[in-house]
């Protein structure tokens, strides 16, 4: 925790300039960036499927089409998967900048993941109690968000142990 905070303290004096990052922080943010890349690929695919009007296929299950074709799957003309792609890209960008020592990016990184975590809980609620169907793409994305949230929660401990 101490070293993580010392990183933040450095950032307040260096503003947007990159600060030195520990090896573990670099590994941590690189892992987060890789996870977000997977999510970005999936969300981009679903956005393309939505925009081209195709029916999403989950191994022959109709549940995907039921979830992704529901009224909850878009806000006006904007598909939720598009917003998801934007969120994953943001996480990737913040993680990359954090890995290179940009301390301000770390705050945005955590807040973006928190927002995604809350949105994921809401979407899981919708699938379980409103639509009574689960889409495997959505569940995979939820798993990625939980993994990212777990990383954020574990981050102070990593800093304490290794610095």
């Amino acid at each position: 925790m101490k070293s993580a905070r010392s990183g933040d303290a450095r950032s307040t004096t260096m503003k947007a300039s990159p600060a030195r990052t520990s090896r573990w922080q670099t590994i941590f943010y690189s892992a987060a960036a890789l996870i977000s890349l997977v999510g970005l690929a999936e969300a981009t695919y679903l956005t393309v499927v939505y925009l081209s009007g195709e029916t999403a296929v989950c191994g022959g299950s109709a549940d995907c089409a039921m979830v992704l074709g529901s009224s909850y799957a878009h806000i006006g003309p904007v598909p939720l998967s598009g917003l998801g792609a934007l969120a994953y890209f943001s996480v990737f960008a913040f993680a990359t900048f954090s890995a290179f020592g940009y301390a301000y990016a770390r705050k945005f990184f955590s807040w973006t993941i928190l927002a995604m975590f809350l949105m994921t809980l809401y979407l899981l609620f919708l699938q379980a109690f409103r639509l009574h169907a689960f889409c495997r793409y959505c569940l995979f994305s939820a798993a990625l968000v939980f993994l990212l949230t777990g990383l954020v929660v574990a981050r102070p401990a990593v800093g304490t142990q290794n610095n």
Binding site: T47, V48, S52, G53, E54, G60, A62, G69, F89, F97
Partner: protein
């Protein structure tokens, strides 16, 4: 160089994402977005066309649907309401997708009911009960039950469901759809013009029908 590296990485990923997204979209789009029109292929000889509403209605709505496709199910009742509200001519064509295990059998059930004059009643029932039969290990038993509910001659219904006529009818519908570029369901045409897939939903369809009505009858 090291300071510029994160910018380079992020911008590269953005470019790859947008590029691959556009590439995938272009690959998927042609069949859906091509200006397909429903009249490019005449009905095959002997093909039965299921219609609702007046022959000379100013607007004809033609749907290529799959009884197991949830968005088609969501669209069924709104289309019925629009048909009544605007006196539309509605045509339903079977386009069972291979990804839906029971879609073809459901289409056979609708066609078999049609042979006893109750296609639309079975059509509505199949969509209303979609969540039930689509998850059933034995949907055939449910289709038979629906036939009973509609007071159909059950023996004839069962025989027709397995008969070549009904299966050929579904194949003809599907071939027609494929011939004019239908790839997914629901694909809807208004006066032979395909509605963009993103607008084929209960929220946007009424406005599209309204616009088609105004186009067909500009004075009203």
């Amino acid at each position: 160089m090291k300071r510029a590296l994160p910018f380079i990485v992020v911008l590269t990923v953005a470019a790859i994402t947008v590029g691959s997204g556009l590439f995938l979209y272009q690959k998927k789009r042609p069949a859906n977005a091509a200006p397909i029109t429903a009249k490019t292929e005449p009905d095959a000889p002997g093909q039965i066309v299921h219609t609702l509403g007046p022959e000379n209605a100013p607007v004809t709505l033609e749907e290529f649907g799959d009884f197991q496709c949830p968005p088609c199910g969501h669209l069924s009742e709104p289309i019925n309401q629009l048909q009544k509200q605007y006196s539309l001519r509605v045509i339903y064509r079977n386009f069972p997708l291979a990804i839906h295990a029971h879609a073809k059998e459901a289409a056979y059930a609708a066609e078999a009911a049609g042979k006893q004059g109750k296609f639309w009643q079975m059509h509505d029932l199949l969509f209303r009960e979609q969540a039930v039969w689509s998850k059933s290990p034995d949907p055939r038993a449910l289709f038979n039950a629906y036939a009973g509910m509609l007071l159909l001659d059950l023996d004839r219904f069962k025989k027709d469901m397995d008969g070549p006529e009904v299966q050929q009818q579904v194949d003809l519908d599907q071939r027609r759809g494929t011939g004019i570029g239908v790839k997914t369901t629901p694909t809807v045409f208004l006066n032979n013009e395909a509605i963009p897939p993103t607008q084929v939903n209960p929220n946007d369809l009424p406005a599209m029908v309204e616009a088609a009505m105004k186009k067909a009858k500009p004075s009203s």
